[in-house]
Symmetry: C2
Subunit: 294 residues, 2 copies
Amino acid sequence: MRIAWIGTGVMGRSMALHLIKAGHELRITTRTRTRAEDVLAAGATWCDSPAEAADSCDVAISMVGYPGDVDAVHRGASGTLRARIPPRIIIDMTTSTPTLARDLASQATSLGVASIDAPVSGGDIGARNAALSIMVGGDGASVETARPLLAAMGKTIVHHGGPGTGQHCKMVNQILIASSMLGLCEALAYAQGSGLDPTKVLESVGGGAAGSWSVNNLGPRILRGDFAPGFFVEHFCKDLRIALDEARALQLELDGLARAERLYALLRDQGHGRSGTQALWHLFSAAAVPSLQQ
Amino acid sequence: MRIAWIGTGVMGRSMALHLIKAGHELRITTRTRTRAEDVLAAGATWCDSPAEAADSCDVAISMVGYPGDVDAVHRGASGTLRARIPPRIIIDMTTSTPTLARDLASQATSLGVASIDAPVSGGDIGARNAALSIMVGGDGASVETARPLLAAMGKTIVHHGGPGTGQHCKMVNQILIASSMLGLCEALAYAQGSGLDPTKVLESVGGGAAGSWSVNNLGPRILRGDFAPGFFVEHFCKDLRIALDEARALQLELDGLARAERLYALLRDQGHGRSGTQALWHLFSAAAVPSLQQ
């Protein structure tokens, strides 16, 4: 297919490369051209705007930062919906709000374009290995058309319902990750405080009933002092804020989520916005384990 | 080896059967004889007290409920240490306090008996499949002697250090499980509140960065309304209380753990002490999702 691709961050880059490898024609644009270099080297065509990239495409896919970016990329003055010949389907893979996904779908539909929300989980590793979980909302026929593209980037593709349901499912995903990260940090604080060897601890707990992706993938990174981003703290803050707003709109009081949102916002405000989510450990190593403060 | 086994609850029963299958001679006792019937049918010998069971044994193993039970089973008037000829090694696999593990080791040592703390993780399924993670504290030579027995019951056997370190590692494990369960319940409350199909949601999130043993094993049980115990709420309450006390003694303020301890105590007080840990959902389905209250 002829595909417009917008956004070549940590994950977007790997995902775009999988589509090229699967034989698709990619037309790309992104805010910082230098970050698109390996995708261009792999054969993609550079375009100066989403509208230009999307011209006469089958599909236009966005993987950007914030809901405001999603809005601009598709509905802005040079957005995909303003293409000379608009794409047949737009797919937003950014984690964004369910409300924007529904609005985008309704405006796209009025222009004869289908719109799918398809946020992902799996981080940088999942993106690199085409092992993402992709949570899909949108009308059934368009989702089936898009499925081969999604299958080139992910391993688990689940269609949840109409527009916005993919984003809702992603919020569920982020609520789980947030609680896992809090638990991991408290657990490591206890391990260090009680004098255990944390590497042996992860070996003991990672394969049993306490095991999780966070424990087994981010735990070792914390122990190595590796806070490089698989997923940015500042993006996770955005996701948790959306989840909390949506939960409140649904009259759900989710205290664990609220605590996670506060702590991640604090972490970002302390200058760790461009670190990976495992940097939450900085708050625990600092506050809870004074002996590490040398 | 000639082994005394004390305690045939949900997990102890499966674990004892693995030792019989591995060719060991088992002498068992437990509070309620009827709960030992399948172990007796498999060839174990019934004894009327821990002291009688432990007589002339190589090893005496306890898998009971509370620290008070551990104390009675080994140090009580008819405890294993009062056997006519005491065992060479006692192994407590109950989740108990690091302090009791150290005290037991020091008293046992004065009688020429080695003492190992070896609590487990993996729940009923792990016990049944001999796939437990076993967290071991004690002197190195005794741990090596015990290792073949532990390997017959578990898949991951890690020696953490001297007496009490196995229990400390188990506390790390329980801190992780507690946060996973809270996250799972908040996530399912959000999923239901936003109108998603929770079965599809678990399919989407279970294999990615939000995945965990809790999500993949207890999530489906919650959705089926299956609150049968893999691990009792009342035992988990005990574990969380120990973890919280130990954390405070280490001057660690672990808010997530404290919240989990409060919620599980509430759940127990509402009459769910003999349900499985996944019954935490009752608090969330009741408070957070009023539409489920019919």
